[in-house]
């Protein structure tokens, strides 16, 4: 039983700050699972993870297990991973292929669209007891949409439409698939998982935070820049200017949208990469799109893009970073590589090589972010009369609307505008 009311929840978020309880209170966490993850469009997987009929992938929404499966009709269906008999989770492998999904408890079976296939020993049920395949199936989620193969679902049938919910931020997915000479991406190349003893929002807060980079990640830099991410790049991400002054990526810019979505501008441009695979890639892109369009595509527009609250997609070493809340103080983060169809194999191999260093549990960069999350959780224990976490950087006067993107607002790179948008969305969902 929660002690929170609409009024107390509203008081946790001010225009330029947020209360530490938002990260630390178990009651708030329970409410978030119901109201934030239960009332928004949440990422569950990519269609390329279930290529063939019968392929399934175990996913989740907040704490709830769901299954994404491709049925014999070729369509991808998302349904709750729960047997209609005694409520046992039916599918337990992370991924696989099956003709029927069978519950281990009493052997009930389901089709890969979630419909009930069979009840064992049906004669034991009272006469006239009907087992409607849909009513007694593994229940479909309320809403499901796919955009360039990225599958999002909503548990609440009354959420705004998918396109309304994500508005201008969908441009990030359009631009991502345009990097592929075949205008198509797939999710392949394994899974990485890392975790930390802290709230899920530490990770979503950090996704497009350009202010922390040079401070948190100084140990992975040497000289003026961070280590070179890909063979053939002239430099890593620059941390210092010629005078040794710290760079803040302010010129890169930051974009935000209602709902807490947005992206940070590019931290490094691809142009100037001297590797052979890169020149091959450029040629293929020119061949399929023409030189002018290819040049547009290759001019990077962003680094990380967040589709709040569930997923972050990176443009440089392309991958999905997917945030999975486990408890108020425990979070798992899943990394899925994105492969460009029609691009040289070496390009994907370069991406894998670097993702190991940036996003595995043994990362030489992410580990420092996680350290900040752990210390954030520890710091939130303080009771000194100031419970506020300050998000004031670039507040209000730096924010200008950007007509290039539907209802997009732009600020400077190290602004905290996007966090303010996220906590406005948080309050809206928590008190709706």
């Amino acid at each position: 039983m929660t002690s929170h009311t609409i009024q107390t929840l509203r008081e946790l978020v001010k225009q330029d700050r947020v209360h530490r309880d938002v990260y630390e209170d178990p009651d708030i966490f329970e409410l978030e699972m119901e109201r934030v993850f239960g009332r928004s469009w949440v990422f569950v997987g990519h269609e390329s993870q279930v290529k063939n009929p019968g392929d399934y992938f175990c996913s989740w929404v907040g704490l709830q297990p769901v299954v994404m499966a491709r049925h014999s009709d070729g369509k991808v269906h998302v349904f709750h991973n729960r047997c209609s008999h005694r409520g046992v989770r039916v599918v337990n492998e992370v991924q696989g292929n099956a003709k029927l999904l069978r519950c281990m408890f009493h052997g009930w079976t389901y089709h890969t669209n979630g419909e009930l296939a069979g009840v064992t020993q049906p004669e034991g049920y009272p006469k006239g007891y009907t087992f409607d395949p849909v009513q007694m199936g593994m229940p479909r989620v309320a809403r499901q949409e796919s955009y360039h193969g990225f599958v999002f679902i909503a548990l609440d049938p009354n959420v705004p439409s998918f396109r309304e919910y994500f508005k201008g931020v969908l441009a990030a997915l359009d631009d991502l698939v345009a990097y592929s000479p075949e205008n198509e991406v797939e999710v392949t190349g394994g899974i990485l998982r890392y975790g930390y003893p802290g709230n899920w929002k530490f990770q979503t807060d950090n996704a497009c935070d350009m202010y922390h980079v040079v401070y948190s990640h100084e140990s992975s830099s040497s000289g003026k820049a961070q280590y070179v991410r890909r063979t053939g790049d002239k430099s890593g991400i620059p941390f210092f200017d010629d005078q040794g002054k710290i760079l803040t990526f302010d010129a890169s810019g930051l974009w935000a949208f209602d709902g807490g979505h947005g992206w940070e501008g590019p931290v490094v441009q691809s142009h100037g990469n001297s590797a052979k695979w890169y020149r091959d890639y450029e040629e293929r892109l020119k061949k399929s799109h023409g030189p002018e369009r290819a040049h547009q595509i290759l001019t990077r527009k962003r680094h990380n893009t967040i589709f709040w609250p569930s997923v972050v997609i990176q443009d440089l070493n392309m991958h999905i970073r997917w945030v999975r809340p486990i408890a108020v103080d425990k979070t798992e983060v899943i990394i899925l590589p994105i492969k460009l169809r029609g691009a040289p194999e070496e390009m994907f191999e370069e991406s894998i090589r670097m993702l190991n260093t940036t996003n595995s549990a043994a990362s030489i960069t992410q580990a420092d972010d996680v350290e900040a999350f752990i210390r954030g959780h520890a710091g939130n224990r303080t009771r000194n009369g100031n419970p506020w976490i300050l998000l004031a950087r670039g507040h209000a006067d730096s924010e200008v609307s950007d007509p290039a993107y539907d209802r997009g607002v732009k600020s400077f790179g190290s602004s905290e505008m996007l966090l303010r948008k996220q906590y406005q969305a948080w309050v809206h969902l928590m008190t709706a």
């Binding site: 190349g189 394994g190 899974i191 990485l192 998982r193 890392y194 975790g195 930390y196 003893p197 948190s216 100084e218 140990s219 992975s220 040497s222 280590y227 798992e332 990394i335 590589p337 194999e345 994907f348 191999e349 894998i352 090589r353 993702l355 190991n356 260093t357 595995s360 549990a361 043994a362 990362s363 030489i364 992410q366 580990a367 420092d368 996680v370 350290e371 900040a372």
Partner: protein, 175 residues
Amino acid sequence: MREAIKNLNPADPIEELLFVRALERFVVAELELLDGRAFEQWRDLFTADGVYWAPSRPDQQDPKTELSLFYDDREIMDTRIRRLRHPRVHAQIPYSRTTHVVSSFVVDARDDQAGTVAFHCAFVMHEFRPELEQRAFAGRYDYRLVTQGGRYRIKWKKATAINCDAMHYPISTPL
């Protein structure tokens, strides 16, 4: 079935014992470098094209097209070690203390002429970082050693933890 199960009596048990003991001494010395945080010396045990690999899945085959916990060539090793030596390596302040334990050595392939050997063994690594709970990794090391300048160098080392596909809190030093 492995030779040892089929045949309890190797042709030359003393020679085999000494050979395995030499490998064991090499691995124990290598792991002492890791436990002693002598990362540069540890790196120097590898050949210039040597690789340290920790898969992300127990039966992972290909480190090039599938993500790994570690897949460190010399360049990445250097970056990793430079970071571990940096005064602001936040995730290692305070640093992890580790103890590596190895056992159950088995020779897989041996070419005395070429001076190469492939073998595997079991490992356990305990890790303690102040404030965090002590944790343990266990699994199998696979080694390919070559002889250079009259001594063994590591061409390839794979560290497969039995829980490598689980969610992990940050791992800052090699398994």
